[in-house]
Amino acid sequence: MAYTSFWFLRAGRHSRKKEPMRTQDAVFAVALGVVVIAAAMVAWAARHPEIDPLEQPPTFDDTVVAKGAMLASLGNCATCHTTEAGASFAGGLDIPTPFGIVRSSNITPDESTGIGHWPETAFRRAMRDGVDREGNYLYPAFPYDHFTLASDDDIAAIYAYLMSRPPVENDVAENQLPFPLNIRMLVAGWNLLYLDRGPYQADGGQGDQWNRGAYLVMGLGHCGSCHTPRNALGAEIEDRLLAGGFAEGWVGPALDATSPAPAGWTVAQLASFLRDGWAEAHGSALGPMAEVAANTARLPDEDIAAMATFLASLQPEVAEHDIAAAVEAAGEREWSPLQLSALDGADDAIQDPGEAVFAGACALCHRKGGRLPISRPVPLALSTAVAMDDPTNFLQVVLHGVEAHDPPGTTMPAFAAVLDDAQLADLANYVRRHFTDEPAWTDLDRAIDNARRGRDAENLALGNGD
């Protein structure tokens, strides 16, 4: 099993590349095969039957559909089940996992290529147990390990919403998983070990708002999918809830007591972040979180407050005036040309090459002054990406920029073609030193390499530096 862990970890936290099979891997594969057969036998005993297809397309109440739309936003269904150019929910998005590529299915009510024939019971089983209408196991890239917590009513509402979308014909291609992982039956074993079947059970020792928040965060919100560390088999580690995870080449920072954010996360800061994708003491939602925040923006205020309450409870309480103090202190650390070690251009000797990069590329926005929220970045001394031990998020932002979202706000250019690896490392070191009191990042070269790999190939093909 130790070897198993090694292989899965090496397959990479962010890598999309498939490692070639070597002798050691072959030996491992045989060993795994034995385990698989055993698990499969267990699974066979507990297999799920096919559920009969629908005869008649159902009709739905408008209010239920509207509620379902909101819940589907919380669940980010469209994010995975839609390609860039495709119709919403028609599937076909390649989702990289450490185990290979899983493709999202077509969940429009198309009768031949979608879920048009699924009765509600089948949909509920998919959400609770990760099994499709025909009885096949779904891969946990679809986070049914979270969705299982949703109530029957909420699942019914999402069903109503999906089934009332325009049907789109899209025959999604097979997943790209190596043998033996492409044997779905294996997932039964995984479920046995790691699926804690729902629905959510309220914690009697906590209030209604906290429980509502817990229900939303741990259930449909599936925050842990990105913010909880995973074990070798890709399952979230139960006793490290929201202690930090990974997604799409980014780090999902810890949201518990180990949060690396320089200022604390109060209920107000969290609510602002989930509502507007921005918080005064933290800045903008970056990377994959930007779209998540655009989705949570659609939730009613009381649900956002509930989620914020729950999340805040995982961290030590922070007073509002401490937040204000942190914001002010960070403001003092903001950059201005007067800080340049060589302000007079006649002196060519740049003490710090990273400083020249910062002054000419970053300080146009990341500088002292400017009183406008949202369009001006938060002081870098408040940035989690800069303060974290892992430089990944910082590198991702610098290399690929920030795309403006609806509602409008932050945008940042990409520097992947502007800076080479050495210049990027210089900049990273300068920023780390100038805006934090943390020790320098280690192993920057490997982090830079990893951060470049994902987007670079596509961009090279377009001649872009983005």
Binding site: A69, S336, P337, D344, R367, G369, R371, S375, D406, G409
Partner: protein
């Protein structure tokens, strides 16, 4: 030659000998002039039909020929990227029968060209194009007359091509015919215009003169000027409209490398440096060092429209038609909203000013060199004739943007740095935050349908701030309000019908038995507003064309057929038919929730170009996106001087309108504008551009030019909304049609 407006036996010389005064100039509104044309009274020869020639009747104000035969054309209008320089060249070259290659066009310059006010309202071809056309035709006749005498051949036996007059086996070039001031004469009330059937230059797609330089990096813009000794300046603008500068510590900035001066005059603040980036860094520091008193209170954006409706207004009935009609069996009403929207020029405003020997020369992309000159002279306390403004192209302005103000900033700073040309480049945040926006507007339409499904009565009201605060007085300039002297802004213009401001296109072209249209003009402007491409027409056409679509649906009628019932203007009907036909409207498929088709039509100002648009869109409710797929437009601009230029303007108008309609809204807090860059004021990107746009131009060779640059915006907006309604059955009436609103409607 069978030319319009010609009186064959009349010769210029005989008129002059008779000592006839040739200029009759009295103010006639453009609408009346055209109406008289339409009634066939060509020979009434009202000078206003000759455009700006009426105000500047000397022929050599417009046309000059040098001894080498090279022709120079002068226009008081400016090239804004709409292709006017090329179109005017074509008009002159055609009437003069010279080669376009031998012709140069000089545009707006207070030192050289006639005063034609602003390049705005799509009047350039109507005013300047017409003036140049007539001046060129008359100049040609003068030169032919001289040639006839010189060659001893009858005028009627002469022909001219490429600037060379021929008769029998003799020929003589224009260059040899000019001498003295043969063109220094006043225009006649009649011109021998070339028969349109013989046009070889007008009506062809002459490639634009300015494009080759623009795609290869040759100098083309005011931003490209680099006179000897030039310094770079940056302004520091206050946080909000009526902030006053309380204090600013300037010694640190003054001692920065390269800084030449810090300029402070009241709340006007700027810094000048040798190098551009030095100026930018100094500007940031100076901005940080400034302490402001903020007093502005802007409306609450959440309740903006209630606020607008609650302000005092000047109300006027602008159409009141009463007639007999059947009783209404159903009545319908809708209210529409439009937020403040920006010009948001891609290149922020820029100007260069040089103060030397008591004279100020300014290079600017202002739409009005003469008016801006007057305002700046007042600001500086200089005589008007000591100030010269030369138009140099900037980025597209789409109306009154920051250009006039940047020119004033440059002039003010140049006074502080005499002898050195000063270049002021506004930053992105300045252009976004300080340009005057297109006004927020509310419209309300109501109508009654008779038993036969026809409209029996129509009511329409529009509420709007003014749509013009151009300089004007120095107080209309930002600098004017900031300096110690605190010039007061002038009273905003309440532009009357038929052109209108907020009420532009509020009066429908459709003919209804009863029609009552009211304009509510709201002079108090908490947020800076002025002319924004098409003025009120964008919103009024959006409202009107959305509403008439609703009525068509209520009447169970096809939207195009329904409109034709009330359109009497033949050219309007033709344009509607052309667009619908080219689109395949009659055979269009049934709508689905994800796919719909819409139609809209308007004649800009009910006076200028006609434009009809049919559009197919895809709707994605989950993402809240309306994606225009196929757009088919038809346009009638009268005599089409450059058909490709017309297509370019209509395509551009459609795309720009899609951006306004689907995305754009100025955001503000209670004290300041929040839309300061492309992140906080997003516009359309390539991924949202339609799959295809076709424009069909209907050429009308015998007709006057009709302004085209603002004709497409209104119809495009309504076509989108109508297509969305076709797909989803839901009406969207609040601009912009953002993803949030689309999602709420489409889910």
């Amino acid at each position: 030659m069978n030319a319009p407006f010609a009186t064959p036996s009349l010769s210029r010389r005989s008129l002059l000998k008779a000592g006839g005064a040739l200029v009759v100039s009295f103010a006639v509104s453009p609408g009346r002039a055209l109406a008289q044309q339409a009634s066939g009274a060509e020979e009434a020869a009202i000078p206003d039909a000759f455009g700006s020639l009426a105000d500047h009747p000397m022929l050599d104000a417009w046309i000059r020929v040098d001894a080498g035969g090279a022709v120079t054309v002068f226009t008081g209008k400016a090239e804004l990227g709409q292709g006017i320089r090329t179109a005017i060249l074509q008009v002159a070259a055609e009437e003069l029968s010279v080669s376009p290659a031998e012709t140069t066009v000089i545009t707006a310059d207070t030192g050289r060209t006639p005063n034609e006010g602003y390049t705005a309202a799509s009047h350039s071809m109507e005013d300047s194009g017409t003036a140049v056309r007539n001046a060129a035709a008359q100049a040609r006749e003068i030169l032919l007359g001289i040639a006839a005498e010189r060659l001893g051949i009858d005028r009627d036996r002469l022909s001219v091509e490429n600037g060379v007059v021929s008769g029998g086996d003799q020929n003589i070039g224009y260059g040899d015919l000019v001498g003295g001031d043969v063109l220094h004469v006043q225009a006649e009330p009649v011109s021998m215009l070339k028969d349109p059937s013989r046009h070889t230059v007008i009506g062809t797609d002459v490639p634009r003169l300015d494009i080759p330089a623009k795609v290869t990096g040759a100098p083309a813009y005011v931003q490209d000027l680099r006179p000897e000794g030039m310094v770079h300046a940056r302004v520091v603008r206050p946080p909000s409209y009526s902030s006053r500068l309380r204090s600013v510590e300037t010694t640190t900035v003054e001692s920065m490398p390269g800084v030449v001066a810090v300029v402070r005059n009241g709340s006007f603040l700027a810094v000048v440096a040798e190098r551009e980036f030095e100026a930018i860094e100094a500007m940031h520091l100076l901005a940080d060092a400034a302490e402001w008193e903020d007093t502005a209170e802007l409306p609450d954006q959440e309740t903006l429209y209630d606020f607008l409706l609650g302000m005092p207004s000047d109300d006027k009935v602008i159409q009141d038609v009463s007639g007999t009609a059947a009783a209404a069996v159903s009545s319908h009403e809708a209210t529409y909203h439009r937020p403040y929207q920006m010009h948001a020029s891609i290149g922020p405003s820029c100007a260069v000013a040089h103060f030397q020997n008591g004279a100020m020369t300014i290079w600017s992309h202002t739409q009005g060199v003469y008016p801006d000159r007057a305002a700046i002279a007042e600001l500086l306390g200089m005589e008007v004739d000591r100030v010269r403004i030369i138009h140099v192209e900037g980025a597209g302005c789409y109306g009154h943007n920051g250009a006039d103000d940047a020119a004033a900033d440059a002039a003010l700073i140049a006074q502080a740095v005499p002898g050195r040309p000063v270049r002021v480049q506004w930053m992105r945040e300045h252009e976004h935050g300080w340009e005057p926006y297109g006004s927020a507007m509310v419209t309300r339409a109501s109508a009654g349908l008779g038993a036969d499904g026809n409209i029996v009565d129509w009511r329409y009201e529009v509420w709007s701030n003014p749509h013009s605060t151009r300089p004007g007085p120095a107080g209309n300039l930002i600098a004017g309000q900031l300096v110690e002297a605190e010039f007061q802004p002038g009273d905003p213009a309440n532009i009357p019908q038929p052109a209108g401001g907020g009420d532009r296109n509020a009066v429908p072209l459709y003919v209804f038995p009863n029609s009552h249209v009211v304009k509510h003009w709201i002079p108090r402007m908490p947020i800076r507003v002025s002319a924004h491409r098409s003025l009120g027409a964008y919103m009024n056409v959006f409202s009107l064309e959305s509403f008439i679509d609703e009525l068509a649906l209520a009447a169970g009628a096809d939207p195009v057929e329904f409109r034709l019932r009330y359109l009497e203007d033949e050219r309007a009907r033709a344009v509607v038919g052309e667009a619908a036909g080219a689109f395949g409207w009659v055979d269009r498929p049934e709508p689905t929730p994800g796919r719909g088709r819409g139609f809209a039509f308007a004649q800009y100002k009910n006076l200028a170009a006609y434009c009809a648009i049919a559009m197919e869109v895809a709707v994605d409710g989950e993402r809240g996106l309306i994606r225009p797929l196929r757009v088919v437009a038809a346009c009638d601009s009268g005599l089409a001087v450059n058909p490709d230029g017309i297509r370019n303007q209509i395509e551009g108008g459609i795309l720009q309108s899609l951006s306004w309609t689907l995305t754009e809204e100025v955001r503000f807090s209670r004290s300041m504008i929040l839309s300061r860059d492309w992140g906080t004021y997003p516009i359309l990107r390539f991924d949202s551009a339609p799959e295809s746009v076709e424009v069909h131009v209907i050429d009308r060779p015998g007709e006057p030019f009709l302004g085209t640059g603002e004709a497409a915006q209104g119809p495009a907006a309504a076509a989108v909304a109508n297509a969305f309604a076709d797909a989803t059955g839901v009406r969207l009436r609040d601009l912009p049609l953002t993803p949030e609103k689309v999602r709420a409607a489409a889910i």
